[in-house]
Amino acid sequence: MTNFKMNRRTLLKSGAAGAMVLAAPAILTRQAFAADSLTIGDTGGPYAEAFRLAFYDPFEAETGIRINNIVLSPDPVPQYQMLVDTNYFLMDVSVMTPEHIDRLNREGDYFEPLNLPNVNSDDFVQGAITDKFAAVYMFAISMGYRADTLGDNAPESWADFWNTTQFPGRRSLYRSPITTMEIALLADGVAIDDLYPLDIDRAFASLDKIKNEIAVWWTSGAQSTQILQNGEVDMLNIWNTRAQTVIDDGAPAAISWVEGHYNLGGWTIPKGSPKADMARRFIEFTLDPERQAKYTEILAVSPTHLKGYDFVPEDKRGNLPTAPGHIEKLRPLDNAYWGENLSAVTERFEAWLLS
């Protein structure tokens, strides 16, 4: 494989790209299927890069099992459902949040039990390890903005975000009620500890006030990165990881952690997966604190293993949601609330958007 890579690179650089492009799929696919392999659904972008570095490549090196990854839809639930219902295992392991799992559990039995006898859930943050779910990272959603256009006059709360006269600029929000409802209430003066259960009517009334100022309703993490990176908008609600990617790329962006929420992300195995045992082996591999810390080199998420933080490089600690000065401002997202209410609120949200 290494040899082949070298050859190909030389070839490409010497300009024979055109012919290679046409022939390569056939050659490469045969390579890919030659050994054992696992396909993992992750959220792409910096997540895919970081997991490649921390988990995929080391796992390949240790076991010889090749890891391929695909990017999940912003809402992976329907695809997951279809995959299990039709027994077509496009992926063997999939990243989910507890909210996704809650929704799938309402539909039926969609997960293989993880059966990880060597893993002690007490070593992890609360809720990270269940019989169907093994969280490997903690992430936050908060506010991102352009430091070049907003400068000293940066918004420091969602009320500021709603205040378009004092904080002029092009705005964007997530095209999903999750967290968008929360910030609408925060902007309207609800205290962060009194959010749940959400007052949906009040949230929509608050959103009405900002609606005309929202230039873009972003639909995927990648899009939120793109519009912050190229300056299409000046402020938006965004996952801290996606904003950090922009900052790391050198664009003048910044994150405000005030009144944000955090959540867990981790592995599940689709029910009936023929590679469930291999998948379990992979999942156990990723629950090591040192390996988890490795992903922080690229991705600004916090390890779920309680010892993970000790291995995080000094210069990366300040970017994590769990860093002192950040975590106090964050609250956990109520996954059970969204598991129950997402489809109804989404329907209303979409109708509201179009009206």
Binding site: K5, R8, R9, L12, K13, A17, G18, M20, V21, L22, A24, P25, A26, L28, T29, A32, S37, G44, G45, N68, N69, I70, V71, L72, S73, P74, D75, P78, Q79, Q81, M82, L83, T86, Y88, L90, R170, R175, A215, V216, W217, T219, S220, G221, A222, Q223, T225, Q226, Q229, N230, G231, E232, V233, T245, D249, S343, E350, A351, L353, L354, S355
Partner: protein, 589 residues
Amino acid sequence: MSNTTSTLPAGQATAPRDKRRFSIDSIALAAPGGLFLIVLLAIPTLSLIGLSFQGMDGAFSLSIYEQMFGAKIYIDVLVNTFSIAFQATVLCLVFGYPVAYWLSRLENRPRRFAMWFVLLPFWTGALLKNFSWIVLLARNGIANSVLQSMGMEAPADLLYQRTTVIFAVAHTMMPLAIMTMLPSMLAVDRTLVPASRTLGSKPMQSFWRVFFPLSMPGATAAGLLVFVSAIGFFITPQLLGGPRDTVIGQLLIQQVTQMLNWRLAGAIATMLLAVTLIFVLLYDRVFGISSVTGGASAKLSSGPVRDFGHRVLNLIAMIATAISEAFAKVLGGYRFGWLLPTVAIITVLVLLIPVVAFIPMAFGESSFLEFPPRGLSFRWMETYLTSPVWTDATLRSFYIALACAVLTAFIAGLGGYGVARSNGKLGSIAFMGFMLPMIVPNIVIAVSLAYFFANIGLLATDIGIILGHTVVSLPVVFIIVLTTFKAHDWRLDQAAATLGANRFQVLRHITLPMCQGGLIAGFLFGFLHSFDELTIAMFVGGGLRQTLPKQMWDDVILSVSPTLAAASLVVLLVVTVLFVLAEVARPRA
């Protein structure tokens, strides 16, 4: 869909009449196609419509329609859809007409050369062009830099605006419009305009009162085809529009792929189909759509419309003449010769911009799509080539396209032969049947098929995608094959037959070899159509069987990485090669 009509010689002389017995015989060859379309177009669409009229318990119920019409948004979105499609169609006609007119006045060789620049953006697909716009029109993108260097102060908000959506939809559909208008312009007798001039008409009058009316069948056909395609089109509004630019296609995607709400999807599809068919019927009443299907030039129907049309044309001719005469006086002669080529060439260049722009993006160093890209690197090409996700999707697209091309060529080949050899009523019915997938919006076909396949276990299978692609490629391939057979001199077959050849021998040694070029072109266009197709792949693939366009679509939505540009480059290469082959193979009358 492009060349369909371009290959249609309007009002071409039909093949010599054969004995009635022979023609009844031949039309039977269209039967496989008919059966195919009944099973994979009529039944799925009707069962989806049927589903929308059922309640949860399976009994007849209008509850889903009450829900749909109760929530105002579905009507709003329908209005959006039609308004965007209508405005884009007008733009296509207004800017496409001069290009087609310019092409029609070129000599054969330069015209064929110029046509490639129109057809290339067509076959490279809507996806690539639209994601190119995202980068080019960004607030800090190249378009804004140019505007600012020309003295504009603040960057313009070009993206997520209705105007941009309409522009980009028109941009996507423009080649279709041009290629549909061209044949009827070529068919206009070139001596008519000089004749009118010798009778004393001014140049502008000659154009508006002689040439323009004669070119109308092509323009009306283009209007219809562009409009129907634009109705089912969702790529541009999704990528370049805001929530207020949402179209029906996006709602269907949401209901089917996210909510799995088939009844509501069925109701939305039924509404879209009904409105589309009403529109087509009205259009037929006013303009006559025989031009779309290649019949003799449209009978510019009844009295009032025709009179009105003439009056409008006379008025335009008067105004245009007045203006041109005034300028001619100032300039001392008719010095507008440069105007048409300039407009046409600029339009063609604009068509090419997004296609050309993404090529360098495939070789950028940055992790983001940027134009102009920073640095030079092959890392994205390498990512594309080494990622099984991308290579699998590419391979799948290749073999699906191949299977689809074989199946389509077989069905359309038989049908084309049958229809070409028959003059009866059955022939025109079969003809309309084969054209049907072009009149039913693609997105309706896709949703219906997904529902139908879900019931028979073909959802999220490669076979499902192949069958779906075959349905939507049939009209194009059928038209190409049909024109080929119609242009064939059947007296040669008769000659062979009188010399003792049996029917099989005639077919094998005379008909097929002589029609080879058209059949190969049909095969290649079937391949291209499938290779490029997104809508069917999205619904029938169920998010699991990824074709290359579907993978690219997901990447635009989920990753926006330069890998996409690398993949697009491959698509462009494949499409260019096949397209050139098909163009070379295609016989020209």
